[in-house]
């Protein structure tokens, strides 16, 4: 057997992981950009509480986060039951639940760099944009957002990597079901628990390392091109 010939189960885990991470990113990134912008630009009542809530998954044990998700979004949880009844969306023990767990866990890692990059953009540029007739939303989309793009990209990469590697919250929330919630990290864990799983574990490790490395290289190249286009990077 060729070492690099992936088993169907491993292919499954890899594709599932990419799907889960991509879905997590697609939903969490816009929310992270919005949250980061609000935290960076506005001082509102409860600013500190929102900030703490955002960062909570970073400091809580992942198992706790997973358990809270289970209690809230599980079939019997208040939010989970509501979504199931009204929209027919269920997070329990399927890949969307894995994506939710990955999104929640990667959220703080995305908000942080994005917030920093928003703070680095001179708010006076928005004043200039408005004085030229641009509505505040247009000013945000044409000036602030493009200038913060390198930081947003950094946050997205970090979030994607975290989503791909998420383990504790996922296994607690949606368990370890092959083809449904068994991502690379969970498959690797399963392999290490199997007596003859050493070779599989090693292969999975290489896959995870390769994917992460490719993502980093790609983001670095993208960031370099972005910086060149934005002119010097820091506004």
């Amino acid at each position: 057997m060729d070492f690099f010939d992936l088993q169907p189960a491993e292919w499954q885990a890899l594709l599932l992981t990419l799907r889960v991470a991509a879905a997590a990113l697609a939903v969490a990134l816009p929310l992270a950009v919005l949250t980061a912008f609000l935290l960076a630009r506005y001082r509102f009542p409860g600013h500190g509480i929102v900030n703490a809530l955002v960062h909570l998954p970073l400091v809580l044990p992942p198992v706790v986060t997973g358990y809270v998700l289970l209690l809230t979004f599980g079939r019997k949880g208040p939010v989970g039951a509501f979504l199931d009844d009204v929209f027919g969306i269920s997070f329990a023990f399927n890949w969307t639940g894995a994506a939710l767990a990955a999104g929640v866990m990667s959220f703080p890692l995305m908000v942080r760099p994005i917030r920093l990059s928003f703070e680095a953009v001179n708010p006076k540029l928005e004043e200039a944009a408005k004085s030229l007739g641009a509505h505040r939303i247009v000013a945000f989309l044409t000036v602030t957002l493009p200038l913060a793009l390198p930081g947003i990209l950094g946050g997205a990469i970090l979030g994607f990597a975290k989503a791909m590697g998420e383990f504790g919250a996922t296994i607690t929330f949606v368990s370890n079901i092959p083809g449904e919630t068994r991502t690379l990290a969970l498959a690797l864990y399963t392999a290490t628990q199997t007596p003859s799983g050493d070779l599989a574990a090693f292969r999975l490790t290489l896959i995870a390392a390769f994917v992460a490395f490719a993502a980093l290289i790609a983001s670095e190249m993208l960031a370099r091109r972005l910086r060149a286009r934005l002119g010097g990077g820091n506004a």
Binding site: K124, K130, S131, L132, G232
Partner: protein
Amino acid sequence: MLDVDITGNVGQLDLQARFTSDGGVTSLFGQSGSGKTTLTNMIAGLIRPSSGYIRLNGATLFDAASSVNLPVQARRIGHVFQDARLFPHLSVKANLTYARWAGRRQGTRDFSEVVDLLGLNALLDRKPETLSGGEKQRVAIGRALLSDPNLLIMDEPLANLDQARRNDILPYLDRLCVEAGIPILYVSHSIEEVARLSNTLVILSDGRTPAFGPVAEMLARTDLGRATGRHEAGALIEGRVTQVDDVWGLTFVDIDGAVLQIPNMDARAGHHVRLRIRARDVSLASIPPEGLSIRNAFEAKIKSISEESGPYAEILCSVGEQVVRARITRASVADLDLFTGKTVTVLIKSVAIDRRQRSPVLPNAVEHSV
């Protein structure tokens, strides 16, 4: 037509400003910290005044009494900031056209006309970070002009530039002030710029506007010394070039009642010019002197002598319809027995008139001259 009467507190500053201007170039003049930028930010809509009103061409931009407060983007005021504030991720061209593609302003002003006016042709494809300070300001001015504003605010556009860059950009400002066709509110703490560019002068001092009016009239007022700066005080004189003497490098300017000889002016016969003559460069003699190196000596009638303590006296002398301002010691006033109505000889050293201060007279400046 700009009509402002507002109050507001920002930080340490207690602002109470009231002035009107009839178009042309209105200069907001005052020392650092007098509230110039706060006042312009209130007019532009960036800071909310606590009471009063702001009207532009009959439209109310802000009125505390009727709760009118138009947002920045609805005021149609082009704002040239001290720090240019070009968008660093956009090319010069995209910066210039920002108001059209992001602000949805369908400008009546021709793009290439503005580019020519400000000499921006060679810069269009560059990024702001590659521009010099003066070039950035020119782009910022062009960008504001192309937003089709009803008023152009220029908040010390030259403050962050060195003298060489200033001299580069001033000719563009001269042309702009004449050709813009919209009222300009020009903020400065430099009496030279103000005298050169403006029609109306608003003096701002510690958040108050003690006086406003035609620039020549304001500069001739001796009671505003504290606000206008005693050392730089001087009068504005309008004149017409009658003759250029290439042999001696002198330009002859008829100021209606006397002819001044000025070294190497950048003007030709027939040009209208505006001269600022500092009070400290003017001497008075009770009888016409002889054997002097001073080339500019002419008779004038004393209009007023300031009554104040201290060693100096400010004296206004009428020449035809215009006023020359002199600062001499009070001891000299006593020695020469000067009094209002007396005819004296005014002496101005030709080299004292800085040739950089001159500019063509603005089209509607003439009616303002005293």
